[in-house]
Amino acid sequence: MAEQPSVRRSQGRLRQILNAFASSHGRALFGALGRLYRTPLATLMTAAVLGIALALPTGFLLLLSNLQGATVGWNADARLSAFLRTDVGSERYRALAAALEQDPQVAATTLITPEQALEEFRAASGMEDALALLDSNPLPAVVLVWPATGLAPDAAAALAERVRRLPEVELVQLDHAWIQRLAIMVDLARRATLVIAAMLGIAVILVIGNTIRLAIENRRDELVIIKLLGATDAFIRRPFLYEGFWYGAAGGSLALLLIESALLLLRGPAVALTASYGSPLLIHGLGWSGVGLLLGSSTLLGLTGSWLAVGRHLRALEPR
């Protein structure tokens, strides 16, 4: 019984502390936004620098991710061309093509007989007269092997090796060797982009840190007075941290805007280009998780930059 009033009082006290906490944070949050709003041009220029610095690596990573998506599609189209020895007879190569088709790793085979090859060559090259001089057909039979869809590049390479070992086979061309090379290049480009992203991230931290440093310098007299009146370090730090937060958020949003407009401009031509190769592909954007990651990391960079600046300059504000 006797405890009830004190419990109620401590609850009231807790609510009072929470209210004070919420109101001081709200004040700092919107106060910082108000200060940025009152200097629109300077704020916009800083946000533009941050936006471009963030859009560059994000755009590159998006481009690479699209490129990788495209090469995965192409991998399924990769095929083996098995050139047979010229002394293999017509029954033998038909049986070979049929046998290969039974392999679980093979989707289909197409046989090109020497006669068909010569015919095709004649039609394509326009060297009919020269070909007429030949007394026998120099072209070998070719079995085109389409690997099962979704076959991994390594398994496709193993399949090629298996076909190469067949006694009738003279030469195997794995048409996706260049795709593997492309994949390596894409991976290299991705790592280079991550290095650049790290450097630009540091640049973002420095830009925000410097902007916050100037903001502190501009309000130096005010901060000294506030400190005289008994403000804690946290109270003084808070509005600048929120200022960094807003800069980061604004830079991230601007980067998002830049990337989405670039996509809008590039999507049409990209689809037209890939359609001309017979496989029109959909260019994908950042997606919700990408947007979240971009905005989250940009605000985190903003907070980090302002934290560093405030930490360095707070001690220099001792009252004179």
Partner: protein, 221 residues
Amino acid sequence: MIRFDNVSKRYPNGYQALHGINLHIRQGEMVFVTGHSGAGKSTLLRLIPLLERPSNGQILVSGVNLSRLGRRSIPQLRRRVGMIFQDYRLLHDRSVYDNVALPLVIGGVPHVEIGRRVRAALDKVGLLDKESAYPITLSGGEQQRVGIARAVVSRPPILVADEPTGNLDPALSWEIMQLFRDFQQVGVTVVIASHDLDLVGRMGQRVVTLTRGRLLGEEVA
């Protein structure tokens, strides 16, 4: 309330501002610190809210030994010591109301209570009708009253004023001193540095005199 025990202050550049000061100021007392420029009046006052730390000796404020007070506890000390300056130290981009509200905002006082207490403080110094004015539009005497309202709004037990009437004419100075006396009469401990001996004499309060950093003597005028 405030006790100085053998306190000395030497600045980093080697200048010895205070030598072995012993002084006890009781609660509810009003004390004037006088002396020529450079005698150490400002330094003595700046030691109370720890704007400076003493080189030697001990200072106790409300029973707290300031030499044991860490950096993080200084804000709590400063909230208990209202400070008033010769140059007012107001924020010129904020209204009178916002200037006076500042200590309460810093102290985390609830929003509804801020309005009530700011108006009470402005009423006390006679500036209730100027709450939305900006300091730059006020006269020197009015600006100093805003400074006083800001110092008392959080009801600190101690007021420290460094040459509060240094920029004001005698009539205004007298009015400001009456304000300080009003606060003293409700139990606030008031320490005022002033070189205006005539004004100090007319107040009829305890006077301590500093000469080249030493406490010369005391008198009750």
